[in-house]
Amino acid sequence: MKPRPVGARRDHRDRRERTLRIALPIIVLAVGLTIWELAVRIGGIPPYVLPSPDLIVQTLISDWGLLSRSLLVTLTTTVEGFLLAAAGGVGLAVLFNQSRLVEYSLYPYAVILQVTPIVAIAPLLLVYLPQYAAVLVCAWIVAFFPVLANTTLGLNSVDRNLADLFSLYGASRGQVLRHLKLPSALPYILGGLRIAGGLSLIGAVVAEIAAGSAGAGSGLAYRIVESGYRLNIPRMFAALLLLSLAGIVIFYFLSLVSHLALRRWHESALAAER
């Protein structure tokens, strides 16, 4: 056999690894869909029990006008809830970090807000707030806590020697926060935001479902409830597919942002080079 340089062999192995990571899930998907499609066709299962993948895609295309409008509504709520959660979580964590009194006063309530199931809070919010605001508040409540918790952890994980250095040079509290604590916390904040992205979608969906049963709303989750009442199972699946895709896009978008922000210096974002 012809000897090859070690580097080339490793490149080759890396490429194979990458191909497998992309190809294998696709193969699993294809096999799963084929079995599903065949089971529906051969078993003669009616579409109001289980629609075939083929029919779901057809429904997605034929109902696109309706579904895309609903998708936009849900995504808008999700993004707004996420942005408010990001600002609220980071802001509150900074406030807690600067003032112990504020932290002692408010932290227990942040925990209570987090541990009370959002499904149980949503109907109450709908009583007091206009529907749009209630959905937004739900998305915010679910998403802000991981940002708060992660940012708090990050702000407290400052290198002690660096903190000493800042105090040696007489840095003000603002300078310590801006030049030391926030940059130290950045990887933690980005980790929290990645969780919050998915959670704000969940919050929006929960609130829409609660609102939908009250007879209002036009987001994707409402479409699912509505289609369920009408036994339009293919449309339920189509809406579910869109929700799932939205979640995936949000997750990967935030992962990309995190990677770009950290790639020059943080261990988590560095290519494994040994």
């Binding site: 020697n161 660096l162 000493d164 040079y169 030049h179």
Partner: protein, 265 residues
């Protein structure tokens, strides 16, 4: 002050009967008396746990003393609000998210100095430690020795009157340590600064210092002081000289006595 020392310059900083108790009851320092004069290179040498680093942190103002006083000369670093002190930690202690340039700029930035003047000073000090080509690099892209050079550059950028170094080269390999030792001596002479250098290496302290204060542990105090009156500049030849060997033997003996004089661990 006794007449014998009256003709010598007043100490830049003097620790008088300094004691330090930690909140957990550990007596780190007791009756520590120690002076440093302008332009000296003094090493604090002692076994681990003898309070060398604690003494250094007290001088830096990073740690409170529980008894005794620190006296600064009129023109000393304390007059400048502590801005005339540089500190180099055992670890490079760089901000991983900032470039070499921004790391070295930090002390100036915290003083509100930015712009061309500050940039020029950073460039000059990076040049002095031989890292001008790495200004845009991030700390993780550098070797351990280069990171320590950045750390030294950062301490020097404010042109400190007093440079405090806490076992800065302990984690480096011998070749890198020797080369940093030489660079440090060159910079000390060129900048006419004063250095207090904490180490547990006899050989390093003899090579660098004009004076060695040997500390005894439990509680930490100065056991004895040795003047290393070999002339500067010193280089690799000094390491090989008989004179160096004699100083090393004397210092080693003092260190062994000091360690034995300490209480039970």
């Amino acid at each position: 002050m006794p007449p014998a020392t009256a003709s010598r310059p007043a100490p830049l900083v003097a620790l008088r009967d300094v004691g330090k108790d930690f909140p957990n009851g550990t007596r780190a320092l007791a009756g520590l008396n120690f002076e440093v004069r302008q332009g000296e290179f003094v090493s604090l040498l002692g076994p681990s746990g003898c309070g060398k680093s604690t003494a250094l942190r007290i001088v830096a103002g990073l740690s409170e003393l529980t008894e005794g006083v620190i006296e600064w000369s009129q023109a000393g670093p304390a007059a400048g609000g502590g801005s005339r002190i540089g500190f180099v930690f055992q670890e490079p202690t760089l901000m991983p998210w900032a470039t070499v340039f921004d790391n070295v700029l930090l002390p100036l930035k915290l003083k509100g100095a930015t712009g061309d003047e500050a940039a020029k000073r950073v460039a000059a000090v990076l040049d002095r430690v031989g890292l001008q080509a790495f200004a845009a690099s991030y700390p993780r892209e550098l070797s351990g020795g280069m990171r320590m050079r950045v750390s030294i550059a950062r301490a020097l950028v404010t042109e400190p009157q007093l440079l405090l170094m806490d076992e800065p080269f302990a984690a480096l390999d011998e070749i890198t340590r020797f080369s940093l030792n030489d660079d440090l001596l060159r910079m000390w002479q060129a900048l006419h600064t004063t250095i207090i250098f904490v180490t547990h290496s006899v050989f390093e302290s003899v090579y660098l210092s004009s004076r060695i204060a040997v500390m005894a542990p439990r509680p930490g105090r100065i056991f004895t002081e040795l003047a290393i009156d070999a002339p500067y500049p010193r280089d690799g030849n000094f390491r090989l000289s008989a004179e160096y060997a004699v100083f090393c033997r004397l210092t080693s003996e003092a260190l062994i006595e000091a360690t034995a004089a300490g209480g039970a661990p």
